[in-house]
Subunit: 232 residues, 2 copies
Amino acid sequence: MTPVTFLSLGPGDPELLTIKALKTLKDADVVMVPATRSNEGVMKSRATDIISEWCDDNRLMVYELPMLKDRQAVSLVYDRIFADCVRLYHEGCRIVVAVEGDVSIYASIHYVMERLEEASIPVVQSAGIPSFIAAAASAGLSLVSQQQRLTILPGDADAEMLHQLLSSNHVVVVMKLSQCQEAVKEFLRRNPQTVCHYFENVGTPEAYHTSLSDEILSRQFPYFSLCIIYPA
Amino acid sequence: MTPVTFLSLGPGDPELLTIKALKTLKDADVVMVPATRSNEGVMKSRATDIISEWCDDNRLMVYELPMLKDRQAVSLVYDRIFADCVRLYHEGCRIVVAVEGDVSIYASIHYVMERLEEASIPVVQSAGIPSFIAAAASAGLSLVSQQQRLTILPGDADAEMLHQLLSSNHVVVVMKLSQCQEAVKEFLRRNPQTVCHYFENVGTPEAYHTSLSDEILSRQFPYFSLCIIYPA
């Protein structure tokens, strides 16, 4: 039987799928994708947008994830994905669980993968382009060179931490930026010489990039935003 | 005229090329690739191996990079790549400069890209899978979850630095591991509870992975090796 594949889709551009991902999608019997409902009640699935060219609707299973950080509600959805994987695996299906970005970078769906392993169901993980790598490419940036270090923070940056890392030659990427926007803006205000590249919706038609401090400071950071900050 | 594309090839597996990379390679008039000569005098080019299925030899331009860390010698090769790009660009060629891994992560070829920009020759950068992302996928690992931070070090790890990062909830990736193997081994000996995943030649048929401490300690780390160390 075919292992359950946890497939990274990259940040949004369908052309950033790997050849391996494409083959896996074409061979799948079932592709499980996450979706969220907007405040206006509209269901949106970036994952579905990415793969739509390669995967017809009748093989898709869409799971609505709650937008709010209600861990218990999310956990119930994951329980359902786990149970569906177990059932379909034993029916002999080739199952793909599709994940935006890369499945090794802050993807809580990894929890389902670990449960499947505990249940002796074989799993494989397929690598994808993380959003910060796509961001650097879109702006023509080198993230790190020579003796620089690279640190990725999960939306919990504070001014002291940024100062410490940057002054010890770390390039800092802040993901889930909307969760700490005041701290980052305060840091930029206090350190006006800082080189900071700000990105929204990397890899999508709504992509936006600026390194102008005034632009960054006046912006309300949306959910899909990140920044790259360079040491002086 | 077509911008010069700096194209990331990923770590070694041709299937980890993106669809975008594949299209770019197929459309190129000239593909510049790095190669190195082994101690036995044999020329090797991992980049050429990755793209061989998609790119016939007559479009390849192979540049031999010196193996030793002789910056001046490397710089002469980069000068030649720069000059060839300028000449071929003005002849109307679609030029691809192929780079192993991802061009934003410790790729010194970025220097050529910056020189081209200064010379008003348009460049674009295409994202690829970094080796540490492919390593995590090959071993089924989550690199970072929840409030963990991720730090990438360029082969200059020492015991004190590792201790500091790991004790403040950083997952640490050490690239160019052969350059600091004694320091990392010493750290593992002193901290036998540490969870460390060690990788050689990720994405190639010679790929090797272990998390057994004795195995890691007894190994002579080759050039293409990295490790992922988790906080306790």
